[in-house]
C-alpha cells in the first residue's frame, strides 16, 4: 500500500515499523508449521537441522521415516511401530467420517430450527449447543469416561463416534446458522405455493443455498474429530489407536522423526481443507449476494 505524498518522515518510519511488526507476527504464526516439512526428510533422528542437512548433502536427506510410516521398514522391530501409524490412520478416518455425518445431519437440522423466527429460548439453547466447544476437553473426557463406562460404551467405536459427534456439532451449528442469516424465507413460501412439499422444498430450495455452510461445517467437524486426542485416550481402549493418539504416545515416549512425517501429511490435509472452505465461503457469499471482504 503506497503512502500518500504528504506523509512526513516520522509517519513513514512509523508505518514501516508497523509493517515490520506485522510481518514478524505473521512469521510467528506460520513459521513453526513449515519448519517441520524439511525436517521430515532429514536422516538425523533428533528433530534438528544438522550442518550436512543444510548443505544439501545427499546422505543427510532421506525418505526412510516416510517408509517407516507406511510400513515399508527395513529395520526389524520398526514394522510394529509403522503398522500402528497405518492402523491409526484407518481408525481416525472411520471415526472422523462417521462422526462428521452424524454431526452434520444433527447440526444442520438444528440450525434450521434455530434460525426460525419463532424459536423459543433461542439464546439459551444456542449456548447449550455450543458448549461442547467451550468446556475444556479434559472435563468432557472425564465425564464421558465415567458415564460411558456405566452404559458399556467405553472401548467401543460407537462410544468414540458419539463423543466426537458431540464435539463436532457446535461447528456445524455455527457455520449453518451463519449461512442462514440473510436467507430469504420468501423462497420457501414461493416453493410451497407452487406445490412442493416440505421434503422437496428442503432438498430443492433450501439445501442448494445452505450447502456451502453445511460443507464447511462438516469439514470443521471432521478436523475436530481427526485432531482430538484427550477423549480418545479416556474413552477408547489401548488398541484403538488414532493418528493424534499415536503422535501423543510418540512425543511422550520414543521421539521418532516418523512423527514429523505424519505431521507433514496432516499439514497438507489442513491446507486442502482450508482451501476448500475458503472457496466455499466465497461461493456462498456470492450466492447470497453479500459483498466479498472489502
Amino acid at each position: 500500500m503506497a503512502l500518500p505524498s504528504y506523509t512526513t518522515t516520522g509517519q513513514r518510519v512509523g508505518w514501516y515499523a508497523f509493517l515490520t511488526y506485522c510481518g514478524l507476527v505473521f512469521f510467528f504464526l506460520i513459521a513453526p508449521i513449515f519448519v517441520i516439512l524439511p525436517l521430515s526428510f532429514s536422516s538425523s533422528p533428533f528433530f534438528e537441522f544438522t550442518r550436512e542437512f543444510m548443505n544439501f548433502e545427499p546422505e543427510a536427506w532421506t525418505l526412510r521415516w516416510y517408509r517407516q510410516m507406511v510400513g515399508i521398514a527395513s529395520v526389524g522391530d520398526t514394522t510394529v511401530v509403522s503398522n500402528k501409524w497405518m492402523l491409526g490412520t484407518r481408525n481416525s478416518f472411520i471415526i472422523g467420517i462417521s462422526a462428521t455425518f452424524l454431526a452434520t445431519a444433527l447440526g444442520t437440522v438444528a440450525a434450521l430450527g434455530l434460525s426460525r423466527r419463532n424459536m423459543p429460548f433461542k439464546g439459551t439453547i444456542m449456548a447449550i449447543l455450543i458448549s461442547p466447544m467451550i468446556v475444556p476437553l479434559i472435563i468432557t473426557s472425564a465425564g464421558m469416561f465415567f458415564f460411558y463406562s456405566k452404559i458399556g460404551l467405553t472401548h467401543t467405536y460407537l462410544g468414540l463416534i458419539l463423543a466426537h459427534t458431540a464435539l463436532g456439532t457446535p461447528f456445524v451449528v455455527i457455520t449453518v446458522t451463519a449461512t442462514l442469516t440473510g436467507f430469504d424465507t420468501n423462497l420457501i413460501r414461493a416453493s410451497q405455493s407452487l406445490g412442493a412439499d416440505t421434503m422437496r422444498t428442503f432438498f430443492k430450495v433450501i439445501m442448494p443455498l445452505i450447502l456451502p455452510g453445511v460443507i464447511s461445517g462438516a469439514l470443521f467437524a471432521f478436523i475436530t474429530s481427526f485432531d482430538e486426542v484427550v477423549v480418545v485416550m479416556f474413552v477408547g481402549s489401548v488398541e484403538q489407536i488414532t493418528i493424534p493418539k499415536q503422535m501423543w504416545a510418540g512425543l511422550r515416549q520414543e521421539i521418532s522423526p516418523v512423527i514429523l512425517c505424519m505431521a507433514t501429511c496432516l499439514v497438507a490435509l489442513s491446507i486442502a481443507l482450508l482451501t476448500t472452505v475458503e472457496l466455499l465461503r466465497r461461493r456462498s457469499e456470492r450466492l447470497r449476494g453479500i459483498k466479498l471482504r472489502n
Partner: protein, 417 residues
C-alpha cells in the same frame, strides 16, 4: 386493532382470523422445536449428563457407607470423648473381617484422605483378624496394633459418616477437614492447588495479553489492506487454526528445544555462545509462547470482523481536525474497536484456562495448569473426587465467563473464519 374487531374478522373457513393466526404461530413454534430437539437430546445424553454425573462425584462420599454400614450406624452413638465402646469395636471387627478385600481396599483409600495410616492399619488388621475367634474384641484389636487405641483414628471416621462431603472442594483450595471436622489448612508441603490456580489464571491472562498485542496490529492491517492482499494474509491466520494442535506443538518443540531452530540460529549468528543456549522448552515460558501462537487466530477473527465495520472516514476526519495520528487512534479508532477486543480477549481466556495438552507436552514441571492436575488425579492417583472438585470449580468459573461472553458478544457471533 382492538379485541372486538379482530375477533370479528373471519377466515374463509369461518374461523376468527386471530385464532387461526395463533394456531399457525403455534404450529410453527412446535416445528422449530422439533427441528432442534434431536440435537438437544443428543447433546444432553452424550455430553451434559456425563459431565453432570462426573461433577456429582465431587461431593459423593457414599461408597464408604456401603462398606461399613453397621459401624457407621454404631459410630453415631459414640460421644467422641474417650475410646469407643466394645460394641463399636465389635461391629468394626466383623465388617473388616468379613468384607471383601477389594471393597475394603477401596474404602481405605478414602479413609487415608481423612487420616493417613488407616490404609496400613486395616491391611494389617484384616490379615490378623482371621485368627481372632471370639470377644472381647477391643483388647485383642489393640493388642494387634496400638493404633486401635488412638482416638484420633476413631475421630477421623466422623468426617466420612455423611454420604456427601465438601472435603474434595476443600482439598482443591489447599484446605482440609481435621479429625474433628474443622476446616484447616493443608500441611505446608501439600499446598499445591492454590499455587496452580494462581498460575492457571496468570498464564491465561498473559496469553490473552500477548494475543491482543500480537493480534491487534495484524487485524488492523488485514482490515485496511486491499482485498487481494488481505485474503492472502488471512490464510496465514487460518492455516494454524486448521492445523492439528499436536502438529503445532511438535513444531514448537522443534523450534524451542536446546538444539532447536531458534537456539541454533542465535548460536550460528554468534549472538549467544554455544554453552548458554536459552532454556525455552519444558517450562512456563514454553507454555505461554506455544499457547499464544495456538490461540492467536481466536483473537484475530473477532477483532478483524469488528474492525471491518469501522469506517476509515472517522480517522480521516480526526486527522483533518488536527489530531496527531496517535491521538486520533486512541480517541477514535480504539473505542470503536472495543467490542472486538472484548470478544477476542474473552474467547482466548475461556479457551486458555482449561488447556491441558500443550502444558502437558511443553510445560515441563513448572508450566502445569489446573487441567493437568485434573488429568493426573484421573489417571494416576485415581482420586476421582478431587479431580471432579477441581473440574467443578473450573467449570464454575467458565460458566460465569461464558455467560458474560454470551451477554456481551452473543454466542451466535463466534467467528470461524
Amino acid at each position: 386493532m382492538n379485541e372486538k374487531t379482530a375477533g370479528s374478522i373471519l377466515t374463509t373457513e369461518g374461523i376468527p382470523l386471530k385464532v387461526s393466526l395463533q394456531k399457525a404461530e403455534r404450529r410453527n413454534k412446535i416445528r422449530a422445536i422439533l427441528l432442534v430437539a434431536p440435537l438437544l437430546l443428543f447433546i444432553l445424553f452424550t455430553f451434559l449428563i456425563p459431565i453432570g454425573d462426573m461433577l456429582l462425584r465431587s461431593v459423593d462420599d457414599s461408597y464408604i457407607n456401603t462398606v461399613f454400614p453397621k459401624t457407621f450406624k454404631e459410630y453415631k452413638k459414640w460421644d467422641r470423648q474417650g475410646l469407643p465402646s466394645e460394641e463399636l469395636y465389635k461391629t468394626m471387627f466383623f465388617e473388616v473381617k468379613e468384607g471383601s478385600g477389594r471393597s475394603i481396599g477401596k474404602a481405605t483409600t478414602r479413609m487415608n484422605y481423612a487420616k493417613s495410616g488407616w490404609k496400613s492399619l486395616l491391611k494389617k488388621s484384616k490379615r490378623k483378624f482371621k485368627k481372632i475367634e471370639e470377644g472381647p474384641y477391643k483388647e485383642q484389636m489393640i493388642a494387634i496394633d496400638k493404633r486401635w487405641a488412638d482416638i484420633e483414628y476413631w475421630k477421623a471416621l466422623g468426617v466420612m459418616v455423611d454420604p456427601t462431603t465438601a472435603g474434595y472442594y476443600l482439598n482443591a483450595v489447599d484446605l482440609k477437614y481435621n479429625v474433628d471436622k474443622e476446616v484447616v489448612r493443608q500441611k505446608e508441603n501439600r499446598r499445591i492447588y492454590n499455587h496452580t490456580w494462581v498460575k492457571t489464571f496468570k498464564v491465561s491472562i498473559l496469553v490473552m495479553i500477548f494475543c491482543l498485542m500480537l493480534g491487534y496490529p495484524i487485524s488492523y492491517l488485514l482490515s485496511t489492506l486491499p482485498l487481494k492482499y488481505s485474503n492472502l494474509l488471512m490464510i496465514c491466520v487460518l492455516l494454524p487454526f486448521w492445523t492439528s494442535l499436536l502438529v503445532r506443538t511438535v513444531a514448537w518443540m522443534v523450534m524451542l528445544q536446546q538444539k532447536g531452530v531458534f537456539n541454533n540460529l542465535l548460536v550460528m549468528s554468534n549472538i549467544i555462545a554455544d554453552e548458554n543456549r536459552f532454556k525455552l522448552m519444558y517450562n512456563e515460558t514454553a507454555t505461554i509462547i506455544v499457547m499464544t501462537q495456538i490461540l492467536l487466530p481466536f483473537m484475530v477473527l473477532p477483532l478483524y470482523s469488528v474492525m471491518k465495520t469501522i469506517s476509515p472516514n472517522y480517522m480521516r476526519a480526526a486527522l483533518n481536525l488536527g489530531a496527531s495520528p496517535l491521538h486520533a487512534f486512541w480517541k477514535i479508532y480504539m473505542p470503536n474497536s472495543v467490542p472486538g477486543i472484548s470478544a477476542g480477549c474473552m474467547l482466548v481466556f475461556i479457551l486458555a484456562i482449561g488447556y491441558y495438552i500443550t502444558p502437558e507436552l511443553v510445560g515441563g514441571k513448572d508450566g502445569q495448569m489446573i487441567g493437568n492436575w485434573i488429568a493426573y488425579h484421573l489417571k494416576t492417583t485415581l482420586n476421582w473426587g478431587l479431580s471432579a472438585a477441581l473440574g467443578a470449580i473450573l467449570l464454575g468459573v467458565l460458566t460465569v465467563l461464558y455467560w458474560v461472553y454470551n451477554k456481551l458478544v452473543g454466542i451466535e457471533n463466534i467467528k470461524l473464519g
